[in-house]
Symmetry: C2
Subunit: 192 residues, 2 copies
DNA sequence: ATTAAGTTAGTTACTATTAACTAACGGGAA
DNA sequence: TTCCCGTTAGTTAATAGTAACTAACTTAAT
């Protein structure tokens, strides 16, 4: 588990990247935000890699929360997806810095190990959602004339773009309103 | 206009970013690829900023080509969008490095001027597509019960996600096949 | 003879990281 | 209570390496 200070460092790191990109994430800048010296950072993480690793863990944690909650219950597939989307939007709206960074997978390409981790997080989400889509197709609540991978792209592609537009616009429109409009439209496509 | 050497530098820059992220884009690495010394780069660009600026210009050029070609003709709106998507897929399939970088807007966040340029490129594309969607809604070929901005997200969100998945997967599936499947599905949603 | 495009050698500033040291605290043993 | 010991979280000073960029010089082509 992360200590309080470690959590601070992770949060600050996300903020630094959100503000000015990955090149802004330096030990110096983290230390400056915390108003401590650079070497003091190493009392809490062994290396910069470990900090980025913890950042990715925190991203994973954000999603795993909902996924497990929703999977264990016997909610209809379509409602599960809605809950997942809604949870995402709520979290992003509450933490705009996350919106700027979370779907920017390229930012972690610098290090092979981090890039792999990003991939595996993406895959596990995709696999879960595809399972839900399969359930829906079996019980007839989701149309079967489009394959699951395409359905996945049709649902989450627009969500990602919406969140990206929101972040790039400087959070100038209401994310949840636009998100609801999007989901209403998507439901029309998903149902047979 | 860019000289031959300048075009080389732009292309190499895209490749460096595609491979290992923005942190891999250094004057030293560009020079190494060209097998010339670092200061020689400054014979062709005044600064690193100018190189990144030229990279963004090249991205804009990629899209403007199709957009103007398609706008000037009197092709039906739905076909215009199909042409635009198809052109994008063809270009990315032919130049995978582009696929890794072109939709990674966060990579240019480091510099305010570049970030603004990214925004304005995104906006001009969106505006053009929305105009086409409006035309389609007026002549009845595109459904009117979903607003234009949501339609835009429904069409291009999945396209962007598809291209991103393709790039992150190491180009392991056939982009154009998946792209065609996607467009077929999208057509079902777009038509009334 | 000018110019374009390269070179070598250097600058300054910043990078992650380490070494050595210190102040503050908390728990047992005297 | 006081002394000892270890831990935690910080400090300053220094490391080796890399960043973008500049000055001065060479070479080859127009």
């Amino acid at each position: 588990m992360l200590s309080g200070r470690q959590k601070e460092i992770v949060e600050i790191s996300v903020g630094l990247v959100a503000d000015k990109g990955i090149q802004n994430l330096t030990i110096k800048n983290i230390a400056a935000e915390l108003k401590i010296s650079e070497p003091a950072i190493y009392r809490h993480f062994n290396s910069k890699f470990d900090i980025l690793d913890a950042v990715l863990d925190s991203f994973e944690g954000v999603a795993v929360d909902v996924l497990t909650k929703v999977t264990s219950s016997d909610i209809p597939p379509l409602d599960r997806i809605e809950m997942f989307m809604s949870d995402r939007l709520t979290r992003m709206a509450a933490n705009p810095k996350l919106a700027k960074v979370m779907f920017a997978e390229e930012l972690f390409q610098d290090d092979d190990r981090l890039a792999k981790k990003v991939m595996s997080i993406m895959h596990s989400h995709k696999d879960y959602i595809q399972q839900t889509l399969e359930d829906g197709q079996k019980d007839g609540s989701i149309r079967s004339d489009i394959d699951q991978i395409t359905l996945f792209r049709l649902i989450f592609g627009p969500l990602r773009l919406l969140i990206k537009q929101w972040a790039l616009s400087g959070f100038r429109f209401d994310l949840k309103t636009e998100g609801k409009k999007l989901w209403d439209a998507e439901k029309k496509l998903l149902t047979p």
